[in-house]
Symmetry: C2
């Protein structure tokens, strides 16, 4: 626990160039920790933040397991909503409170603790291990795919293990076999050369604040369906067994989701349950919108420019570049008169889907059953880990998503936390999982 | 000019409570300046910022003229767009650059300079003078109407003179006989209890950023017409002579407005010219919109709340409270599912209209003609000076709007400026105007 706290104290915010030093320091610390556990470790420079690699002695005739995690974290604002310093972890009510406690430091560090324990107790691991920790997941992993391609041979493996997803409810072991993809952009609306007096010019000059609102509003119809031409063209439909299993999955009722999120009511695409909307349907979201005066009192300006940050969650079948082409065409086509729109594309990643009934999938189900003493549920995840699709394409292997996050651990939000119980469960899971995978 | 610079150095931003001391210091300075010019002056406390009053010796059998101005100014952000410090005035290219140079310190101070000159040269003024300067115009003059009501007798006058509006073009004397009114509000959209991960919850929980956009978008139809039920019900139609005169008024062509504003093209309500849209048609404008992440890079959140500041410019016939009732009903009716809306009402003021062909109107036209050696044009203004309607209702008199601002003097924007020529013209105008009014 002391070591996890040390790890959580690094403010390794990858999106903010002001924290570059913290990201590097965190990578160095992890390499040292791997070495202390008995692994050969290395901090590998990339075009962005470094990748940290750890390996044991590789032996023939046993499977190679790549454990992936990311040591970078999301920004912490609004800081005033945190009940304790996001980078000074504390334990309260059986939970570890800190930015990155769940996403993803706590989860991958449980694996590293399991590995260290096994080596200490058994002298070695039952599988060949490659542990790969990146520092750019929260900004879309721009350097990792080139890294995989450059080290394809050294990273060859049979299966990949990732704990960066969720358990559907406390005590319910969960195997994820799918993730949504993502594609992001920011757009700028520009009108007059400067902010104008809304009395002197209002009515004859288009308002960029109105224009940004009209464009964001144009992304959906009144039924919550995305209104971009061709957006749903390539979506692969849900299978019947998925709809059936998800109907009774714990933690996904309307009451559950209202309880966890505090939303006044739920709203989404007509014709789908919440689980289906979150795990198997694509979305268009505005992550930020701004323009004009935000301060105290009133300032009757017509703002010169306004902005929005958009992200689109994608499902199997949808190609991120194709979707972003459609988004850009939509924004340009619907841009109101009297202003211009400029789209800046951001990061993207394909959606991912594997077969939870494969040999590796069955081994993972068994490890979950033994660790948590309950039948695992099979789900997809609403979040995006674009690198999982890259692993598939570059290394040719599937990923087991063994989530340890709980619905109320508030990842990406103020007061992120991780239960001590799941941190300890993750340590046990690592040991059982490696045994099961060694036995295939 | 040195004295004007002293006046412009006060950061008398009325909307920002952090500048309360500067507003008070500015009022004290003005009272001292009036006394130096030979007026009896007084700083009168109110519930908010003070009113400064100056008078000459009042004589029977001559008209009483009330000269109104406001010594408070708009905020200065975005500060980085100013080419020089907004509160350290400089002269460059024949213009005085500073916040308040045009709106309104430069304009009312020209009158005070004219008054000081007349008293110095002639020993006295040809009219009874009441000069009234307030410190709350930019926040809607909340204390002035009570002040007028409390001092109705002492403030009795025959006509009011205000230079806080525009000349349509350099060298074209302009008499304003109408102003738009205004009503303002801010609304908050609230959804989940905190920012959510847009992958984990996006699709099943409504996004307050989308909701604020949809509500702002709902304010207009595609033709630029306000889409709030009953918004146009009480609008008094334009008269034929107004449409005729405005067709050829200088400075109001599409090319002129594009040149001054830098907008890529013009857009407004179908069926009206720009002059008509600005001077005689009501509007709905978003002055600020914000929610979610605005920083560097991306942060894939679904924001917990989003906000917009709205203002509505009103025309004769429309009642501000009635319009705000309709706005609030519209926002509540159109609030998307899954979020709540809360409306906070701001300041408001009635539109104003007088007869430019009355005796006072003809005197003002003559003063403008003599001062600028050209026929004046008769216009309304797009901006709002709510107190003008209050003068009408409380004191029972009309106001002559003798604008000295030019279209490119950038009021309410960075790099506000006032031409030295119009500052000097304002001094001359004051002297001729008082002579004309004395002669009625």
């Amino acid at each position: 626990m002391d070591e996890l706290f040390e790890l959580l104290r690094f403010a390794s915010i990858s999106t903010d160039s002001g924290h570059k030093v913290d990201v590097q320091a965190c990578a160095d610390w992890l390499a040292a920790r791997m070495a202390a556990a008995g692994l050969q470790s290395e901090v590998c420079p990339t075009g962005g933040h470094p990748v940290v690699i750890g390996r044991n002695e590789q032996e023939a005739d046993r499977p190679t397991v790549l454990v992936y995690g990311h040591y970078d974290v999301q920004p912490v604002d609004p800081l005033e909503l945190w009940e304790s310093d996001p980078f000074d972890p504390v334990i309260r009510d059986g939970r570890i409170w800190a930015r990155g406690s769940t996403d993803n430091k706590g989860q991958f560090f449980a694996h590293l603790c399991g590995i260290a324990e096994t080596i200490e107790e058994d002298g070695k691991l039952p599988v060949n291990l490659i542990m790969l920790l990146e520092g750019e997941e929260e900004i879309g992993s721009p350097s990792l795919r080139p890294f995989l391609e450059a080290h394809r041979g050294e990273l060859a493996c049979d299966v990949i293990v990732v704990s960066d997803t969720g358990m559907v409810a406390p005590g319910v072991p969960t195997l994820g076999y799918g993730l949504r993809g993502i594609t992001c952009c920011e757009f700028a609306i520009r009108g007059p050369a400067r902010d104008l007096h809304s009395g002197v010019y209002g009515g004859a000059v288009a308002n960029p604040g109105t224009a940004v609102a009209r464009l964001v509003a144009s992304l959906h119809d009144d039924n919550g369906r995305v209104a971009i031409d061709g957006f749903y063209d390539d979506v692969v439909a849900l299978e019947d067994w998925e709809r059936e299993m998800w109907r009774s999955v714990p933690g996904m009722s309307e009451e559950d989701i209202l309880g966890v999120t505090g939303a006044p009511s739920l709203f989404g695409e007509s014709g789908y349950t919440s689980a289906e909307r979150l795990w198997a349907r694509p979305t268009a979201e505005v992550n930020g919108i701004w323009g004009g005066y935000q301060g105290e009192g009133s300032k009757t300006v017509l703002p010169a420019e306004s902005f929005a940050k958009l992200s689109f969650r994608l499902v199997p079948g949808q190609d991120p570049s194709d979707i972003m082409d459609k988004v850009q065409a939509h924004l340009e086509k619907h841009c109101p008169e009297g202003v211009t729109v400029e789209v800046e594309r951001g990061h993207h990643g394909q959606a991912y889907r594997s077969d939870p009934h494969s040999a590796h999938g069955r081994a993972a189900q068994e490890a979950l059953r033994k660790t948590f003493r309950a039948d695992p549920v099979l789900i997809r995840e609403g979040g995006s880990i674009p690198i999982i699709q890259d692993f598939k394409e570059v290394l040719g292997v599937d990923t087991l998503l063994l989530g340890l996050a709980l619905p109320d651990c508030q990842i990406h939000s103020p007061n992120e936390n991780f239960t001590v119980e799941n941190f300890e469960g993750g340590i046990r899971l690592n040991r059982v999982l490696f045994e099961e995978l060694a036995g295939i």
